[in-house]
Amino acid sequence: MRINACLALAIQYEGREITTIEGVASPLQEAFVVHDGFQCGYCTSGQICSAIGMLAEHGNGVPSAATEHLDADAVELTGAEIRERMSGNLCRCGAHNGIVAAIQEVAGADAVSHVRAEAAR
């Protein structure tokens, strides 16, 4: 689950497993490079950690403020959905188009591999 480290009182998380960017090995990292998903790099670690959490939330069927029908079982991960779900991570350089493209590519690859796995059963 993604949360804001800057608002987390450390003692509340005693005994919990915590993953920061240092513990991440994700295709998102390569995709951010390929799609120019950053410029100065200041927000990048947060963007990638947040995107990992976001993709997990989406996979669990969690809706967002951009979701048209809240009762639907699955939500298509459109550009508008990604932007809304990632709005807690602001890039002051304005690399959001690249960030959205990187996330979309990785989310699409996940969807493709999921379909292949289903088909192979």
Partner: protein
Amino acid sequence: MRSFAYVRPDDVAAAVRTVAAQPDAKFLGGGTNLVDLMREGIERPATVVDVTGLPLEEIEELPDGGLRIGAGVRNSRLAGHRLVRSRYPMLAQAILSGASAQLRNMATVGGNLLQRTRCLYFYDDAAACNKREPGAGCAARDGFHRSGAILGASPTCIAAHPSDMCVALAALDAVVEVESVRGVRRIPLAGFHRLPGDTPHIETELAADELITAVELPAVPVAANSRYRKVRDRASYAFALVSVAAALDVRDGAVTGARLALGGVAAKPWRASKAEQALLGAPATEESFRHAAEVELASAEGLPGNAFKIDLARRTIVATLRQVLTEGGAA
């Protein structure tokens, strides 16, 4: 850095006993507001009682079709709950339009009810603020008050309540269950938050040693056809200038049921009862919606920096009702 004591009890009785025994103690939920306020020196509790270890994380369906929501349930979990999405879509939408996903993952239902205003001068301890320091004055009145209240404000304070979730809860007749060493009591949400009057530092009916344990929603059939609409300075991750929670039931062209509440406009989530009364039995038309909005906003007062919100509220009420009428609810 000020030092403070931290305790994490695992039952409600121990939690309320601890706070009753220490006047400077505060309950801590997800920490998204209190931790920030402590860092700024606005809140200075001597003891912090972490309530996230208490067994208050259930969402249960009630026999009458309502819901009982534990105060420790995280905002994101409540918004994603199947029954909330289908029976109370205005509530799911309201929560999802608040803060960011990271914050919603942390924030609790009880904490959302008790979050403090985001009035700039409340957060700035060099500025005059009657809410922070009774009698000090109000810097917002002659300052930057774009977010300020247009309904129910007083000469001492124009701060608005920042919650989205509470706006839907007000429209749904939610009831807040609280517990202290004196026992359990239930407070209707509509009367939970107070208008500022001469005592803007007293924001709710909750006593300092009372803990919110649950929020109950009655069955509200009309709420299945509902929406929440939020108008703000940017498309996401911003507090409301004006927001509207609306539910509508229309038969043979006439309004047979309506729920309406406003956010961003007052020190409390504003149940628009006068507008609801005006809507009941009226034809479901743009003209009726406009009339209802005008009735509700007749007592609204603006200052130079926020008077635009009166017309904005009027138009947002009409637009939200129109959308519910033509497109149905958000479920």
